[in-house]
């Protein structure tokens, strides 16, 4: 089998009955042609259909005339202003390129050669054609529900499933531990920590306020060398003490901005 033979043997004329055959079925009716186009599963499928219309073995189709038929078809569709899916146009462009390449003298041809491209196209068409035939034969087999029927009302094989449960001692005891652990009342142990009580803070703040009439920042009432946790407690207690003194009218509070330092001073009795 030679390349040239494959490509150019039997250049079947795009016979009237072939190509015009389709068009004749729907010469002007746009919808009909559109539907026809819709019926193809993509450009390769359309090509295969056109190739089959050459009424020769797929191995000896003329790629050149196939290209012409395809391009004619796309032209017609465009003339009818049908919207063509992009892949049909891509195929058309590629085929137009293939055709022009095939018409060039051999020495000017590029790589891959148009013969190679054409042969591969032909091989693809053969493969698609083979699968299309296989699908038809497959569908023609003795299909259940169409050609052969299963028993309408089978008794069914009754299998009475009896369950034997599995569990071991450890799983049992662990489960109990889990329940107990989950539901045991939570006991929170609070570690003893240095605190300044509200009473001592009240004493401390009112005593210290007694020595001056100026504004004093709350922080200055805290014990200077206390460890951080006592300091935190003292800050809280002193703050509450300051509020209490203000409530009793013994001190006034002032804060210039949010989160800013809090100042207090004695209200002279």
């Amino acid at each position: 089998m030679t390349n040239d033979g494959l490509l150019f043997s039997d250049p079947v004329q795009p016979g009237e009955e072939d190509w015009d055959g389709i068009a004749a079925e729907a010469p002007v009716d746009e919808n009909a042609l559109y539907l026809e186009l819709d019926g193809w599963e993509g450009p390769l499928d359309l090509l295969l259909d056109l190739a089959r219309r050459q009424k020769v073995d797929l191995r000896s189709i003329s790629i050149l005339s196939l290209v012409d038929q395809y391009l004619d078809y796309i032209d017609q569709a465009e003339a009818l202003k049908l919207e063509l899916a992009a892949d049909y146009l891509v195929m058309a462009a590629w085929l137009a390129y293939l055709k022009s390449a095939m018409l060039l003298p051999k020495e000017e041809q590029e790589d891959p050669s148009p013969e190679e491209l054409a042969l591969k196209l032909q091989l693809r068409l053969q493969r698609l054609g083979a699968m299309r035939d296989a699908a038809a034969r497959l569908m023609g087999g003795n299909r259940i529900g169409r050609d052969v029927f299963l028993r309408g009302a089978p008794e069914g094989l009754e299998i009475e499933r009896k369950t034997r449960w599995r569990c071991d001692q450890f799983a049992l005891i662990e489960a109990y531990g889990r329940v107990k652990a989950r539901t045991a009342p939570a006991i929170h142990m609070v570690r003893e920590r240095p605190v300044m009580t509200l009473e001592s803070a009240l004493d401390r703040v009112s005593n210290m306020l007694g020595v001056t009439l100026d504004w004093v920042e709350l922080r200055d009432f805290l014990p200077p060398h206390a460890e951080p946790r006592l300091r935190k407690s003292a800050l809280a207690s002193s703050f509450v003490a300051a509020l209490e003194l203000a409530r009793l009218g013994k001190a006034e509070l002032q804060q210039d901005d949010t989160f800013g330092p809090l100042h207090l001073r004695r209200v002279p009795a």
């Binding site: 029927f149 299963l150 028993r151 309408g152 009302a153 008794e155 094989l157 009754e158 299998i159 009475e160 499933r161 009896k162 369950t163 034997r164 449960w165 599995r166 569990c167 071991d168 001692q169 799983a171 049992l172 005891i173 662990e174 489960a175 109990y176 531990g177 889990r178 329940v179 107990k180 652990a181 989950r182 539901t183 045991a184 939570a186 006991i187 929170h188 142990m189 570690r191 920590r193 709350l218 922080r219 951080p228 946790r229 300091r231 935190k232 407690s233 800050l235 809280a236 002193s238 703050f239 804060q255 949010t258 989160f259 800013g260 330092p261 809090l262």
Partner: protein, 205 residues
């Protein structure tokens, strides 16, 4: 085998319900009812020694498997399944607290217990109903069975480890002690924050 008998055979095989000879004749188009009847009798005879029988009941015909083979077609299959976590917990509670009502089980587990769980345990043969508690509502109370002790390799319920032992093995460990550790490291710069900002944090301590 004659064509009509083949057709009658296939029609009855594919039918979803028993069919009268008339219905079969109707299905097969131009068959005479008498011929269909003859075919049915012939088929019934053909099948008599086989594992499948063609039988007539109330004038309607159908295929069925031979009655003497029923035992082969209905079999018990034992399936081993792991007890679910919930069921294991319920079983453990019953074992440790029996006799115990469902409400008591739920209060110990801290979650609702589906009736299916108790059914599974009773089906397994490990739990039985042990009467009713003589309190308002007379709730059913549950207890373990001798099969339970046998399955779990216990001579008696006293063999179940006590709470002290569970605690020793760590099975009763409560929530982590991590909390204390988290509280330990107090950042020094906390004190520099303003009172207003610190306030809520202090209360948490």
């Amino acid at each position: 085998m004659d064509a009509l008998a083949r057709a009658v055979e296939a029609a009855l095989f594919a039918a979803e319900e028993p069919m009268t000879a008339e219905a079969i004749a109707g299905l097969l188009g131009d068959a005479a009812v008498g011929d269909v009847r003859a075919a049915l009798r012939q088929l019934a005879e053909d099948y008599a020694p086989r594992g499948i029988q063609l039988v007539e009941r109330a004038k309607r015909w159908h295929f069925e498997t031979a009655p003497d083979l029923a035992h082969l077609l209905r079999r018990e299959k034992e399936q081993l399944r792991r007890l679910s976590r919930a069921a294991t917990e319920v079983l453990a509670i019953i074992a440790y607290h029996e006799p115990v009502s469902r409400a008591e089980i739920e209060s110990i587990r801290g979650v609702q217990t589906s009736g299916g769980t108790l059914d599974v345990l009773m089906e397994a043969g490990w739990v039985k109903i042990a009467g009713r508690r003589e309190v308002p509502g007379r709730p059913t109370i549950y207890a373990t069975t001798p099969e339970f002790l046998e399955h779990f390799g216990l001579a008696s319920r006293r063999d179940l480890p006590g709470l002290a032992e569970l605690r020793a093995t760590g099975l009763l460990d409560p929530v982590e002690d991590a909390y204390e550790e988290l509280m330990g490291g107090d950042e020094a710069d906390a004190a520099q924050e303003t009172a207003a900002h610190d306030d809520p944090e202090i209360d948490e301590g």
